[in-house]
Amino acid sequence: MPESDRQDSAPGERVLSLRGVSKHFGAVSALTDVDLDVHAGEVVALVGDNGAGKSTLVKVLAGVHQPSSGTITFAGKEVVLADPATALGLGIATVFQDLALCENLDVVANIFLGRELNPPRLDEVSMEIRAWTLLNELSARIPSVREPVASLSGGQRQTVAIARSLLTEPKLILLDEPTAALGVAQTAEVLDLIERVRARDLGVIMISHNMEDVRAVADRIVVLRLGRNNGEFGPDASNQELVAAITGADENSVSRRATRRRSQQAPEARP
């Protein structure tokens, strides 16, 4: 089903564009001269090995870290994402890998944190209803939204974090390994959700280690390696190509197995 969607939706205008973004932590260069474009209605998958700089890139876009150099253009204007509030205000919503929830607050309070309804006299009833609606859309299995988040499992917390990012209608959603802690049904639900978000013409950046998930929803796959761009692929790229770009080597177990498989199938074709 995703294939058909993808073909008839031409990418819209450019939402986000990074040029030459670098980020140093002391002596460590987490990102070096990274370029990235995201269009409206497009899902860009960001893949790379552990420590490739994916989360750092997401945090730069979320305003958590400031880039050491480079420019960020959002919705046609060059922007400085000085803090998370700025990024949120522009319409960049983020699900962080380290989930960034307040364990002492309940689910409703976490979903609405920083965006509470009716600040001088919190509208708890409306917030609770909205929270349930969001969670039901995600087919969340959350027993009670009035329990502190500390009592939830990893997957449930992830769902809360995703629900949080969907609360206000953002222009760009950043999902840092959103399905890492999820079960089968919930992963399908989240991938489905990404499809729906794309259909609403939002830009999506998704990070995942699962190539099957990536291929299922991504319009483009951007590979980072050691903090640098290392290739861009369509969703039909082969596993071998991707693994080679991610690891930076042609010779590894995945490519070897692929070669073996091909050579087993090949004999019939040979004379």
């Binding site: 979320a62 998370p84 960034a100 307040c102 944190l113 006299r121 609770e128 939204v145």
Partner: protein
């Protein structure tokens, strides 16, 4: 009484998960309460148990302890340090500390004496100046904290010395300034009590407010398809509040009556409780205390939250100092020294506000200071020296912190943060 039966088969929005036990009956409510306590969510239970023990012990040693007029005096004494302790609740909520509240209170009482009595300023102006300077001290701490990352522990320890020095400097060689007896401020601190009718009415209003807000919320929740407390439970709750408060007021009215100063303290607690639990600001305070980075990533202006916490804390400390001056009818070098600092911090912790941040209640200042003042009053009645009082208060504080730490560990293992 059960919502599910009233609503027929359609499950309520928040009651569709069958794994969760819901306490819909009175028995269920009690069961849920016991579960909560066992998991380490103690609330104000330890302090109420402690208070009962203290009262029983002192009453059996000296029957004057529970006499109405002794309790009225106790409430006068509570109000001064209690107001300071309310500020400590604020600063503990965000996980920081202010060790200088005693000195700030002493400084503000000295300022009141100098401006009002020595320089002849109108008392209202002197009070406002003292409060504004208190706020400025808090702003300074938060500047040092936000700008230079100076731990509040250190900056306020420095402040403790500095403001004490300023207080001694202001009072000069005379060492103390007497406030005029019979002036409204001193009357407020020493004698003014509510007329009986007013105190009974206020107690009744409290119960009615509890009922009306509870009823409105329940009605809205029911309309929205959420579970709501039943009318019976709301009525029971309101009735309990009214009976308890009216009894306390009745008992105090057998003596001099309810001090206006205590009324002011309780009013501040109620306002603070509302602000902490029902406003966006309070939500942000709790979030910053629970997980500062998560709060920042949610777009909360964390620095402004710290600013508000520090400013509120030292402003309330200054206010407490003014009340203490009124209570003693003097601004002296001793004001705000000795155990004031620790009593204010101990009260908040004993009342159930966590030293670890993100967890607490405005009412913990109220409960905690009553515990501390009860011990002080009981020991004074027994003619025991302040040396013993210090030791016992220290022990109570240690117990409170141990309970806090154990409860926290238990909460973590029961998934209640």
């Amino acid at each position: 009484m059960n919502q599910e039966t009233q609503q027929g088969s359609a499950p309520l929005l928040d009651r569709s998960d069958v794994r969760v036990k819901h306490a819909d009956t009175i028995g269920g409510t009690i069961g849920a309460f016991i579960d909560r306590v066992r998991s380490g969510d103690l609330g104000s239970l330890p302090v109420i148990v402690g208070l009962i023990i203290i009262c029983t012990v002192f009453q059996s040693l000296n029957p004057v302890f529970l006499a109405p007029n002794n309790l009225v005096n106790l409430l006068f004494d509570c109000s001064t340090v209690g107001v300071i302790s309310l500020g400590i609740v604020c600063i503990l909520m965000v996980g920081e500390i202010d060790l200088s509240v005693g000195s700030v209170s002493g400084f503000s009482s000295a300022l009141l004496g100098v401006l009002w009595v020595n320089s002849g300023w109108p008392v209202a102006v002197a009070i406002i100046v003292a409060l504004v300077l208190g706020a400025a001290i808090g702003a300074l701490y938060s500047f040092l904290f936000n700008r230079f990352g100076m731990p509040s522990f250190v900056s306020t320890l420095a402040g403790l010395l500095a403001w004490l020095g300023l207080q001694l400097y202001l009072l000069g060689s005379s060492g103390s300034i007497n406030l005029p007896y019979g002036s409204p401020l001193v009357n407020f601190g020493q004698t003014l009590v509510m007329p009986d009718a007013v105190s009974y009415a206020l107690a009744a209003i409290a119960g009615i407010v509890v009922f009306v807000t509870g009823y409105r919320t329940a009605a809205r929740r029911r309309v929205a398809g959420l579970s709501a407390s039943s009318l019976g439970r709301l009525l029971l709750q309101a009735a309990a509040v009214i009976v308890i408060l009216e009894f306390i007021v009745y008992y105090l009215n057998q003596g001099r009556g309810v001090p206006w100063m205590f009324g002011l303290f309780v009013a501040l607690c109620v306002i603070m409780n509302y602000a902490l639990t029902r406003t966006k600001w309070g939500r942000s305070m709790t979030a910053v205390g629970g997980n500062r980075e998560a709060a920042r990533r949610a777009g909360i202006n964390v620095r402004r939250i710290y600013l508000s916490a520090f400013v509120l804390c030292s402003t309330l400390a200054a206010a407490g100092g003014l009340l203490a001056a009124a209570r003693l009818a003097s601004a002296s070098q001793q004001a705000g020294t000795g155990d004031v600092n620790l009593n204010a911090i101990a009260a908040a912790v004993i009342g159930g506000t966590s030293l670890f941040g993100g967890r607490g209640s405005a009412y913990s200042a109220l409960l905690g200071i009553i515990v501390i003042q009860s011990i002080a009053s009981g020991l004074t009645l027994l003619d025991l020296s302040s040396s013993l009082r210090y030791m016992i208060t220290g022990a109570v504080l240690a117990i409170a912190v141990i309970v806090d730490s154990l409860a926290r560990r238990s909460r973590l293992s029961h998934g209640r943060a």
